[in-house]
């Protein structure tokens, strides 16, 4: 599997609030040989404001995206945003029903002709590229970095739609971050609600829910929270001032997993785009480097101790061989030593009696 060619749907946040996700995704895909063909003149996926109003109108938006893909000969599409993923996939599944699909086609006037699939960037990384190949690309290991992965509500749920990883305790991102060299801490709130778009109807809800996640991340000792969703990232990163005002005193950077991949692959700084984060990530990296140095020193010490042990063992073996040679004139030292040992044991047995 040398190269993968897929259609690419950046989603609206990729052009604005999650520019760093978009940039690092493209850079990392380039590095891993994933050819991204952006769907020409794509439009809104049909997310929350649309699907909560009318499912057919929402599906019509999604359907136009796929129709645009067909114009460029694109059937299989990936997207970094879980919300886009969910909408595009739900639209495809609903359109398997001929009645529903007729309603959508009446709106778009563009019936779909090709087979379509939609998956997340994370899913492609884990399932198609694989953690081993990712590990092989790492040039600047994240050794010493303590991270918690945060999947949010949509990456693995609803289970029947997403069909990816364990819905309640997913581990795909854990494995990927381990491949980058980071230390992944057990994180019980990895699929908890970040507050989503609740900040629109009620401003108090989001900081409370996002604060709970940050608080737990801090409590388990994480340097940062790794995310895969633009809305989660915004709630967890942008609102830390509000969260601190609510009494939870945690300062944690919240990068996208693709940004950490860009750093581990030693891609240019502009590709990782850490400068787009609200909470500064550099202190976390500084901490990582100190810890990595400590770990390496420990490892060197342990290796030296191991080598010393091996040397002593070899020395003892050599001495024993020398002795055996002196004792046994015909050179069957080992055998006679064995015989001696057995005899000793028999003697001891006799003593018991």
């Amino acid at each position: 599997m040398s190269s993968i060619n897929v259609g690419y749907f950046p989603g609206c946040s990729g052009l604005g609030t999650s520019m760093e996700y978009e940039r690092s995704t493209r850079a990392v895909c380039r590095e891993l040989g994933i050819g991204l063909r952006e769907i020409p003149d794509w439009n809104c996926c049909g997310s929350t404001p649309a699907h909560s109003t009318d499912s057919a109108l929402s599906a019509a938006l999604a359907s136009r995206v796929f129709a645009q893909g067909e114009n460029a000969g694109i059937g299989d599409v990936i997207t970094p945003c879980p919300s886009c993923l969910k909408n595009l996939r739900v639209a495809l599944e609903h359109m398997e029903d001929p009645l529903f699909s007729a309603r959508v086609e009446a709106l778009t006037e563009r019936p779909l002709k090709m087979q379509h699939s939609i998956r997340s960037v994370l899913q492609v990384m884990v399932e198609d590229v694989g953690t081993e190949r990712i590990r092989g690309r790492v040039r600047r290991s994240l050794k010493g970095l303590k991270v918690v992965p945060y999947y949010g509500c949509l990456m693995t749920r609803p289970e029947k739609v997403m069909r990816f990883d364990d819905p309640e305790n997913p581990v795909a991102l854990d494995r990927l971050l381990e491949a980058l060299g980071a230390e992944v801490l057990p994180f019980p709130l990895k699929t908890d609600c970040c507050g989503g778009s609740f900040s629109i109807p009620s401003r108090k809800v989001t900081p409370r829910l996002a604060g709970r996640i940050l608080d737990m991340a801090g409590e388990v000792g994480a340097d940062l929270v790794v995310v895969a969703c633009p809305l989660c990232q915004m709630n967890l990163d942008l609102r830390q001032g509000q969260i601190r005002a609510g009494g939870i005193d945690r300062v944690l950077p919240v990068p996208y997993f693709t940004q950490l991949m860009a750093r581990a692959f030693a891609l240019p700084e502009a590709d990782a785009a850490f400068n787009k984060l609200v909470e500064d990530i550099e202190p976390a990296f500084a901490c990582m480097q100190r810890r990595a140095a400590d770990i390496e020193a420990e490892e060197r010490k342990a290796a030296a101790a191991e080598a010393e042990k091996a040397r002593l063992a070899a020395e003892r073996a050599a001495k024993a061989a020398e002795k055996a040679k002196d004792a046994g004139p015909d050179g069957a030292g080992a055998k006679s030593a064995g015989a001696k040992k057995t005899k000793g044991k028999a003697d001891a047995g006799g003593g018991d009696v």
Partner: protein, 652 residues
């Protein structure tokens, strides 16, 4: 031949969608039918009397009743015609209820179909011959599979009535799940104190032979004369020599073995006596943990055993027993709750199952009856009980209610307060199901006197935080979300049919439902019989039930078995296969297909021929269909009779 036809209304069950009078009228035109009528309830006393009267009045020599399934009332009507002096096999039934009236609403179509079914039955009846049963002797010995409380009750009742009983238990001790419980609801009396003496009775009863750590290997034969093979699994300890002194369990160096009896609360040794009151109180070696087997050296138990009972060379042994009846009492297992990743899926040590909690509460358990958090050994203050974990949950294929969890949870909440007076219990529940004698009062008592806080709602998530467990759920009565900080969480894990129950059912040739529970003969009227003669059910293997119901069903199964085995002779069913030696070419195909080993090869003037062993044949008809020569005929279902039915149906 003079045939009488009776079309049953079954109240409105049949008459609601079948024109019974029209069916009777059409039946009167069928060959040999001299009398046809419709009747309100054929099975009721006036109905049976009417059939008998008609037989006498019209001199009938054969009877067709069109009503329900023959599973329901064929024996009833056979007895009725016999009372009128007609051979019981000169009777046919047409099923116009389950096969017609209950499945369609089109009266015209239903009436036509009913008339056709009656035509087939009458056509078959014309070729019926009088059959006479033969009788055979009965083996007056009962096999009880499973030594839980239901099996124990069945065995003791049967043995006390004078029957010989063989009990097979797959674990090294009898006692089942009840032996693991600390107390029982709603009386909160000590479980082992009431069960222990019964277990001793089983061991000491002169009529009971106990095979513990053994499994049923094979069953052949038939009601009254089953041949059973029991595999005694190797315990690596000669139980004739073992005195149960326990020295080996003290000295065993492999101290990290999984403790099956204590549900893994604390480790145990590789050679074990499951618990102090175990019956039989004998040691056995768990091979997977034993150093002698895994590393090839150790032998400590063999050295310390004062009677030299340990034998690492021991092999499984097969025992063959002949029994007349079988009681299956194989109980249940807990659902694998680890599918619930939202409850930690086993990642959090302080989330335990209800059965593990019982072992913690029990004075003879690994914690000596002290409730301690498995993670750090401290005493919990806030204990949260989560009900319906694996019950009433279609998402994991367990949509049914396990029946006893509401009650044992209430009991455990009471015991928690008794053990730790300063504790506070919370119970998350869906509905409190307590329909038993004194049960609802009990669930009130735990809330009103013991202060357990009952929260109506499901728990969505359990997660660790700062050494505690946060239990997040809904309070659907208050319409709010709740989060409880718990020191210990006890999951009321639901129950399912015991592992391999389907394999056992196939050995016993009984049916089981989609969940693996054994099917009773009739959901209301035959709760302990199965559709296989001579096989009875007791306890949770038939459907989940609590201790009182299990005991009641154990007694009921014993009563049914005693009824069967009190007879010296049983009538054999004459609806069996027979071989026409002129046609048989000795190809042995019938011998190969017979599931009952009822056909043997005999030599007839130098020619091999098949011969049916009449008492073994169950009349299943496999040989009949297999025989390439048409040499085997099944009495009452001959090829000619089946063809007559086909021809009656496909006339044009």
């Amino acid at each position: 031949m003079k045939i009488g036809v009776f079309i049953c209304h079954c109240g409105s069950n049949i008459a609601g969608t079948v024109d019974c009078a029209a069916v009777a009228e059409r039946a009167s035109t069928y060959p040999d039918v001299v009398y046809a009528t419709d009747i309100m309830y054929a099975c009721a006393e006036p109905g049976q009397d009417a059939i008998i009267a008609a037989i006498k009045k019209h001199g009938l020599t054969g009877v067709v009743v069109a009503s329900c399934t023959p599973r329901m009332h064929e024996p009833t009507f056979r007895k009725a015609v016999e009372r009128a002096g007609v051979n019981r096999y000169m009777f046919e039934m047409a099923n116009i209820r389950e096969h017609v009236s209950w499945i369609g609403k089109d009266i015209e179509a239903n009436t036509n179909k009913a008339a056709e079914l009656v035509r087939m039955a009458a056509a078959k009846l014309r070729l019926d011959r009088e059959l006479k049963p033969k009788s055979f002797p009965v083996t007056k010995r009962l096999l009880v599979i499973g030594g839980g409380v239901a099996g124990i009750q069945a065995a003791l009742d049967a043995a006390d009535a004078g029957l010989e009983v063989v009990m097979v238990e797959k674990q090294p001790t009898i006692g089942g799940k009840m032996a693991k419980l600390d107390k029982t609801f709603p009386t909160v009396d000590c479980s082992s104190c009431i069960l222990g003496p019964r277990m001793v009775d089983v061991a000491q009863h002169p009529n009971i032979t106990l095979y513990a750590y053994a499994e049923l290997e094979e069953v052949s034969g038939y009601v009254g004369n089953f041949d059973v093979k029991i595999r005694k699994k190797a315990t690596y300890v000669d139980w004739d020599k073992c005195t149960g002194c326990g020295l080996c369990t003290e000295k065993c160096p492999s101290k990290k073995s999984y403790d099956r009896f204590n549900e893994g609360v604390g480790p145990t040794t590789a050679i074990i006596i499951p618990f102090p009151q175990a019956i039989p109180k004998k040691a056995s070696i768990e091979r997977e943990y034993c150093r002698q087997f895994n590393k090839g050296k150790c032998g400590v138990c063999a050295k310390v055993c004062p009677t030299g009972a340990v034998n690492y060379e021991m092999q499984d042994e097969t025992v063959e027993v002949k029994v007349g009846g079988i009681v299956a009492a194989t109980g249940y297992d807990l659902v694998d709750w680890k599918v619930y990743s939202e409850y930690g899926g086993g990642r959090y040590p302080d989330v335990v199952t209800s059965l593990q909690y019982e072992r913690m509460l029990s004075a003879s358990g690994p914690t000596g009856g002290h409730v301690k958090r498995p993670s750090d050994g401290t005493e919990p203050v806030n204990v949260v009980f989560v009900q319906c974990v694996g019950s009433r949950d279609p998402s994991i294929g367990r949509p049914y209610c396990s029946g006893f969890c509401c009650m044992y949870t209430a009991k455990q909440a009471i015991l928690t307060k008794d053990h730790i007076p300063g504790s506070q219990s919370y119970v998350f529940y869906m509905d409190i199901r307590s329909p038993g004698k004194g049960y609802d009062e009990f669930t009130r008592r735990v809330q009103e006197e013991y202060g357990a806080r009952y929260v109506r709602g499901r728990v969505s998530m359990i997660y660790p935080k700062g050494g505690k467990l946060m239990v997040r759920g809904a309070d659907t009565l208050m319409g709010t979300q709740v989060e409880v900080e718990a020191d210990l969480v006890v999951l009321a894990v639901g129950a399912e049919a015991s592992a391999n129950s389907s394999a056992l059912a196939e050995k016993l040739r009984i049916s089981y439902d989609g969940y693996g529970f054994f099917m009773e003969g009739h959901p209301k009227l035959k709760p302990v019989e199965t559709n296989t003669a001579g096989v009875f059910l007791a306890g949770s293997c038939q459907g989940l039930k609590d201790i009182p119901s299990s005991v009641a069903q154990g007694s009921a199964a014993a009563a049914k078995a005693l009824g069967l085995l009190s007879r010296d002779m049983l009538d054999s069913d004459p609806q069996i296969a027979s071989v026409s030696v002129n046609r048989c070419v000795g190809c042995r195909k019938c011998i190969e297909v017979c599931p009952f080993k009822a056909i043997q090869e005999v030599d007839m003037r130098g020619q091999p021929k098949a011969e049916v062993i009449e008492t073994v044949c169950q009349g299943c008809g496999l040989c009949n269909a297999t025989c390439p020569q048409g040499a085997i005929q099944l009495s009452h279902f001959t090829d000619n009779q089946i063809l007559a039915e086909v021809e009656a149906l496909c006339r044009f």
